[in-house]
Amino acid sequence: MKLLEYEAKEIFINHGIAVPDGVIITQPEEMVLHLHKLGPEVVLKAQVDVGGRGKAGGILMAKSEDAMATANRLFGASIKGMPVDKILVEERLPIEHEYYLSITIDRASKQHLILFAETGGVDIEQTASLRPEAVRKALVHPLLADVPPFLLRRLVGNAPKEIAPVINRLYHVFCEKDALLAEINPLVTTPDGVFAADAKLIIDDNALARQGIHVNRDQTEREREAERHGFSYVELAGSIGVIGNGAGLTMATLDLIEHYRGRAANFLDVGGGAGRERVTHAVRLVAGMPEVQVIVVNLLGGITRCDEVAEGIVDANIPQKVIVRLAGTNEEKGRNILQEHGYMMLDTMEEAVRAAVEAVQ
């Protein structure tokens, strides 16, 4: 789950990473008490989870006396379709230079990957293509609690050596917060030291509970409901509902729909042991999307009992057409139950997908 900038900055402060003085507000009046502490010029930053926030008008500069009017304007704006309900108001830093710093997990080496670039404030991909010599990388072994000094020296190079402890502190944040990405872009130097002008943290969804996060904001309400039932669920834009077991098989089902020029409405992986009730929940959840005209159920597995799945589909009793491909134990029983109730059961996923695409044409 992505944290908002102000949430990430609170974590940074607790780990000794300096951030600009600032205050989070939900209405313009709340900044009155704080403005005098923030200097003659302030930066107003909409706390919305969108990429390219600055270019989309989500970051505005203002003189202290104009800050209220600017905040009013920003609260009324929509940034790439997202309403603004929180603004981070910060002092404007006297920036000398901007750098880039990030930490991720590198799949190939299975180590933590630190990227540091002498050019910040822009995409790292852009710097990497224009000035590859300005980007430095270091891999840190996951059993190390600190970034070793020799790696810090290698990363920082000729940049101010005060940056080295910031890298190590961000590494602590990365490890302690179960982050998949920790990024400071830009990391800035000023006459008063090194500051994280921006902050980005993405927390591992599998570690949210132990990080004390109980609601995954990245999910829609229907996606959250799906997770409560133990499903993996992603909403898409088409009209063919999809239910599969296993992520790979479900993805392959979506790909086949696209291959036959149909459009899937969703991805739903019911997970292991698809029993009667789980199947009913899954079918009802997908049928509840207004765009869905037909549902493909593609279940395969040695331990999946086809008669139970068939009963689950019948129990759901939904208005849309359901096309079923089932393979497992008790296949014949399952087929009979479905046929008795007027559902179509086919032998292969390709036949099922083609029937579904034809049904919506």
């Binding site: 179960d178 992603v234 331990i303």
Partner: protein, 288 residues
């Protein structure tokens, strides 16, 4: 066989849980049919002394190893404790851990795999359906009735999609030497490179099917590392960017790891890539 042997002793970590107990029994059914030793002990902390489907349960891996000759562990321990269990097995001297568990925090996995390496312990998974060498050994949860013995290896990031492909291969008369589910997580122990290297040294394997999906670039890395004849399939061609498609590792991030670029790179290496799962068997037959 590229992992283990028929007469290897196996333990199940998390043997008293529903899934662990259920699959322990199925693994032992398979071992009886193949004339192997199967699961000789279970481990669940705090449940020592219990018996699951005739198999004794111990409180720790060390205790199990004191009474049994074991080289492999199949792990069903829940996500939050699974990293610790992998390390426990490695420290006790287990040579291979097959981690079935899904939803392990990725930092735990990275630590556990790094630690296991210091103990010379290989890890398959996590989020893996396991390993099956038809007629020899079954480690994990794969439905054995779909498999047939032959000379084609299969490596996959998926579970059920693997069964789909194995079923198609078997129906087409193409048997399998060993089928390995390397797991759907972003950080996994044995990667395509490692398993292809094992297949290259396996006299029973003449060609390999690589079943990949969106996320990362380990499929291409694997294909570039081997001289073995390969057929590939990549799932997730229709996956939208920045969305996790069921598997923690199946995500197109920052414009990387999308299916189209993977397929392009595989084809540039001369690897035939199936457009649909049903084409895989035909492409394999062309190679053999």
């Amino acid at each position: 066989m590229i992992f283990g042997a028929r007469d290897d002793g196996i333990i199940v970590q998390g043997a008293t849980g529903t899934q662990g107990a259920f699959h322990l029994d199925l693994m032992n059914d398979y071992a009886r049919g193949a004339g192997g030793r199967g699961v000789v002990a279970g481990v669940t902390p705090g449940k020592g002394g219990q018996v699951v489907h005739g198999v004794p349960v111990y409180d720790s891996v060390r205790e199990a190893l004191a009474s049994h000759d074991v080289v492999t562990s199949v792990l069903f321990v829940p996500g939050k404790a699974a990293g610790d269990s992998i390390m426990e097995a490695a420290e006790a001297g287990i040579e291979l851990v097959v981690a079935i568990t899904e939803h392990i925090p990725v930092h735990d996995t990275a630590k556990a795999i790094a630690y296991a390496r210091t103990c010379s312990c290989s890890v398959v998974g996590p989020n893996s359906p396991g390993i099956l060498s038809p007629g020899e050994i079954k480690l994990g949860i794969m439905p054995a009735q779909l498999f047939s013995r032959g000379n084609v290896g299969v490596i996959s990031r998926s579970g059920t999609l693997t069964y789909e492909v194995v079923d198609e291969l078997t129906r087409a008369g193409i048997g399998q030497s060993t089928v390995v589910g390397i797991g759907g997580d972003p950080i996994i122990g044995e990667t395509f490179v490692d398993v292809l290297d094992r297949f290259a040294r396996d006299p029973l394997t003449d060609a390999v099917v690589v079943i990949g999906e969106v996320g990362g670039n380990l499929e291409e890395e694997g294909a570039a590392s081997t001289d073995l004849p390969i057929v590939a399939y990549i799932a997730g061609k229709s996956a939208p960017p920045e969305k996790r498609m069921g598997h923690a590792g199946a995500i197109v991030e920052g414009g990387e790891g999308d299916a189209a670029s993977k397929i392009r790179r595989l084809e540039a290496l001369g690897v035939p890539v199936a457009e649909k799962p049903s084409e895989i068997a035909t492409l394999v037959r062309d190679l053999l």
